[in-house]
Symmetry: C2
Amino acid sequence: MALKKMVELKLKERDARRRLILHAARELFAKKDFRSVTVREIAKAAGVSIGTIYNYYENLTDLFLDVFLKSAEEIEQILNKENLSAAPSLSRFCELYIAYLNDNMTFYQMMGHFMLVGYLPPDATDKLNHVMRMLMDRIEERINAQGMHNHARLSAHALFSALNGIMISYARYPGRTPDQIKRHTLRLAEIVAQTFASGSKIKKTKSNRLKKEVVS
Amino acid sequence: MALKKMVELKLKERDARRRLILHAARELFAKKDFRSVTVREIAKAAGVSIGTIYNYYENLTDLFLDVFLKSAEEIEQILNKENLSAAPSLSRFCELYIAYLNDNMTFYQMMGHFMLVGYLPPDATDKLNHVMRMLMDRIEERINAQGMHNHARLSAHALFSALNGIMISYARYPGRTPDQIKRHTLRLAEIVAQTFASGSKIKKTKSNRLKKEVVS
DNA sequence: TCATTTTATTGAACATTGTTCAATAAATCA
DNA sequence: TGATTTATTGAACAATGTTCAATAAAATGA
């Protein structure tokens, strides 16, 4: 149908325009803390007016989220690609994740921002959770593949937390170059991965057995 | 000397006034995300005018930092008290820390905020680092006490990261009450503590030996 | 092809923010 | 008490995110 094609083309065009704004925003966010980038800056960088931004995004949070999701897609692809060629070890997985965060500060800055913020609109919460869950699932796969079955889901939670915490805690270590920070965080990730790999077969004794409870 | 006493009294009074503002701010921050609290709200809550706030604090960041440091003192006292009565296990230490973060969301929200932000004035960076280092030192003590000497400092970094990451990753888990979140994060902390306790005696093989490098 | 309707773009205008500072009040001093 | 120093105040300012009437562009239908 010609009509359907027209409509499709129309949507494609609209999407292309939105990607233009998205792209400009991403570049700005890479240069400085995304929270200090203004709508006016983004508009200028994208070569459109302020109003146009609001034609494609309800508000700034919406634009932030779109950038965040774009990154999430990227990292998912990176992890998937590695998964195909050769199932990566837990260490390798952690390395990939931390390396990506180092090279895409905006992503974990946004993750931290959204996780720390008090209120988020429901749909934003949903999208955020979807990303978190995707990453968690990937970790759990690796943990299971490593042959550690003692509360794998909980361990995945803990390991995921640890990786995020590494970036939060050390990404802006004072007096370090980005390269030094990358090395340090990668090392910490390696430690965490090894620790989890070797320490995950905890014997269930009376003292350290975990109470049964629905977790996730 | 009378003069000296006068000056001292003066300073005390000034300090009392600053604490008034600090207290009002803390209470507001506890009710909602501190970043959404305005100077006008704080002024009203403290019963002073906007200008007075700026007489006691250079800017909002300064006030945020003061609230942050106040919390840091609190947690330091909690950890010290426990240390005196009976040196806590690694698990117990993690429990104390995570419990405090649960009961003082503002603290870790601020920690996250400051760690994620692009630029901080040098003195703010110094104060922030002092707090981070204090917490890290406490962890390292516990790790050493637990008798795990394989790169203790690095392990302390990793464990500290993990604890912070737990809060970042799960403090706003959707559809959970604060109580459920507290239970879940405490459980994760327990897992992390056990994992580190049992996994820290990694054999140094060719494949997993860490490159020697100055770290901290 | 051209009038009409629909859609997209624009940026001035608005409300709200953190911050400043001249005017005022209070406290201190000699 | 009168002079001087210090603290408080809130109107005013610049910058922010967001809105929306006016305008331009595109699509439609004859």
